[in-house]
C-alpha cells in the first residue's frame, strides 16, 4: 500500500479539478507535490502505486502518500446528463433526432483502464455518444414504427452494446428522452432561430 487514510485534514493537499467540463481527472503526484490528496464525498479515486498496484478509494477523506510518485484518477460517482442532437442530414432516411442520455459510472476500474492516464472532458464524451447514437439509430431504422417506449428500450440496449467498445466502457447509458425531427410542432419550428 502506497497510501493510508489520514486521521485529520492537512493544510497542503492535492485535490481533483473536476468541474462541469471534466468527467475524469488525472494527476501524477510527484516528489515536489504535497504529501496528501483529498477524495470528496461525490468522488471515487483510483491510485496507481509505483509498484503498479491499483487501489480503489471509495471513502471520502484525506490520504497520506507513503511512497511517491503515484498516479491518481478521480471520477464523479454521480450520473451526468448529456444532451446530443443528430441533424436529419446525418442519417440515411432524412430524419434527425435528439436525446438526453444519463451516464452512470458503473465500473470504475474499467473506466480507469479504458481512459488510461489522462483527463476526459464532456466534449469528448459528447463526440463519442453522438457517433454511437447515430450508429444505433441506423441499426434500428426498421424498428421505428414500434411504440416509442419499446423503441427506447431497444435503443438503450444497442447503445450500451456500442458504448462498451469505446473509451466510455465502464459507464452505462440510460436514454432519458428521445425525440425525432418529425415530432417537432410547427410552433417550435417557427420559434427556432434560423441557422
Amino acid at each position: 500500500m502506497c497510501i493510508e487514510l489520514e486521521k485529520e485534514p492537512k493544510k497542503k493537499y492535492v485535490t481533483s479539478n473536476l468541474d462541469t467540463e471534466t468527467l475524469v481527472y488525472y494527476k501524477k503526484i510527484d516528489r515536489d507535490d504535497p504529501n496528501h490528496f483529498v477524495v470528496q464525498g461525490d468522488e471515487i479515486a483510483y491510485v496507481i502505486c509505483p509498484d503498479g498496484q491499483e487501489i480503489p478509494v471509495t471513502d471520502p477523506g484525506t490520504y497520506k502518500i507513503i511512497v511517491k510518485p503515484i498516479d491518481v484518477i478521480w471520477l464523479k460517482k454521480t450520473p451526468i446528463d448529456i444532451k446530443i442532437g443528430i441533424p436529419k442530414e446525418a442519417t440515411e432516411i432524412g430524419i434527425g433526432f435528439h436525446a438526453v442520455i444519463r451516464l452512470h459510472p458503473t465500473s470504475p476500474s474499467l473506466i480507469i483502464q479504458s481512459i488510461k492516464r489522462k483527463n476526459l472532458s464532456i466534449n469528448e464524451v459528447k463526440d463519442i455518444l453522438r457517433n454511437i447514437a447515430r450508429e444505433t439509430f441506423q441499426t434500428l431504422i426498421n424498428n421505428m414504427h414500434e411504440n416509442i417506449e419499446k423503441y427506447r428500450k431497444l435503443f438503450n440496449v444497442k447503445l450500451n452494446e456500442l458504448l462498451a467498445t469505446t473509451n466510455l466502457a465502464g459507464f452505462t447509458a440510460v436514454i432519458s428522452y428521445i425525440g425525432f425531427s418529425y415530432m417537432c410542432k410547427p410552433t417550435e419550428l417557427l420559434e427556432a432561430e434560423p441557422p
Binding site: 480503489p56 471509495t58 452512470h104 458503473t106 465500473s107 476500474s109 452505462t172 447509458a173 440510460v174
Partner: protein, 273 residues
C-alpha cells in the same frame, strides 16, 4: 487492543465493501440497460447502505470498537458470499431483503452483540436452504482465516473460537470417512499446518467433543453417524418391512442377536483379533 487486529479488520472491511460494491454496480448496470429503474434505485439504496458499514471510532470505547469491527467484518463476509453465490440465481429484490436484514443487525449498539449477530445471520441464511448453509460456512471461514493468518489464533474472541469449532466440526461431518487429518483441515480451512495443529490442540482442550490424536481429528457425533450410515447402507428397507409383516417375532430376535454379534465384532476389531 491489538493494533494488528484493528488494522486487519479495517482493511478486511474496506476490501469487502469494495468487492460488494462492484457486484452491486454490475447488477445495477444490467438494470439500467433494460431501463428497469425500480431495480436500479433499489440497488443504489443498497450501495448507500454498504457505504455506511464501518463503525465510527468516536462512538465506541477502544474495546467496543474492536467488537464493532469484528461484527461489521463478519456481516460483510456473509454479504460478500451471498452476492458471489446467488447474484445470478435469485431475484434482486430477494437478495436485497436478506442483505438489508443482515445490515440492520450491526446498526448502532447492536454491533456489540457479536455472538447474537452470528446466530441471526445463520437463521437468515437458512431460509435459502443448502446454499444458505454454504454461504454461512464460507463467510465464517474467510472471516476466521483472515484474523488467524494475519494476527494469530489468540486474537479470536470467545465467540470467534466457538465459530471456529463449529466450522471444524462441520468439516469433519462432511467427510466420508469417520475422521479428518490435520493436513486436510489445513487445506480446506486455508490455514498453515503448524497453526492448525496449535488450534486443534487448544480447541480440543476447551471442547472435549473434539477428539484429536496423531494428526487425526474426529468427533463422537461423527463416529456415531458413520457407524449408523455404514449399517444403513447395507440394509434394504423394503425387505425389512416385508420381514416385519411376515415374521415379526423372528425379526426382533434376529435383531437382538445381531446387535450382540455387532458389539462382539467391534470388541474383536478393537482388540486386534
Amino acid at each position: 487492543m491489538s493494533m494488528c487486529l484493528r488494522k486487519t479488520l479495517e482493511a478486511f472491511i474496506r476490501h469487502k465493501r469494495s468487492t460488494i460494491n462492484e457486484w452491486i454496480m454490475e447488477l445495477k448496470r444490467q438494470a439500467l440497460i433494460n431501463l428497469d429503474t425500480t431495480t436500479a434505485n433499489m440497488l443504489i439504496e443498497l450501495e448507500n447502505h454498504i457505504g455506511t458499514l464501518m463503525p465510527l471510532k468516536t462512538q465506541y470505547s477502544p474495546n467496543e470498537y474492536i467488537t464493532a469491527l469484528r461484527s461489521h467484518a463478519l456481516i460483510l463476509s456473509y454479504l460478500n458470499e451471498l452476492l458471489e453465490m446467488v447474484k445470478n440465481m435469485l431475484p434482486p429484490d430477494m437478495i436485497r431483503d436478506i442483505m438489508l436484514k443482515m445490515i440492520s443487525l450491526v446498526k448502532g449498539g447492536l454491533s456489540l452483540d457479536f455472538g447474537g449477530i452470528a446466530i441471526q445471520c445463520k437463521n437468515l441464511l437458512q431460509s435459502l436452504h443448502e446454499i444458505g448453509n454454504q454461504i454461512f460456512a464460507e463467510g465464517t471461514r474467510k472471516y476466521l482465516v483472515t484474523i488467524i493468518e494475519s494476527c494469530g489464533f489468540g486474537e479470536l474472541s470467545k465467540e470467534g473460537e466457538f465459530l471456529l469449532r463449529e466450522s471444524i466440526a462441520s468439516l469433519i461431518q462432511s467427510m466420508e470417512k469417520p475422521y479428518i487429518t490435520m493436513e486436510e483441515i489445513s487445506m480446506k480451512m486455508g490455514i498453515k499446518e503448524n497453526q492448525t495443529k496449535k488450534i486443534i490442540k487448544k480447541l480440543s482442550s476447551i471442547y472435549p467433543e473434539i477428539l484429536s490424536k496423531n494428526d487425526i481429528i474426529s468427533t463422537r457425533q461423527k463416529i456415531e453417524t458413520w457407524i449408523e450410515n455404514t449399517i444403513k447402507e447395507k440394509v434394504s428397507e423394503e425387505e425389512v418391512h416385508k420381514l416385519k409383516d411376515l415374521f415379526p417375532e423372528q425379526l426382533e430376535s434376529a435383531y437382538i442377536t445381531n446387535a450382540k454379534k455387532l458389539t462382539k465384532m467391534f470388541n474383536n476389531l478393537l482388540e486386534g483379533e
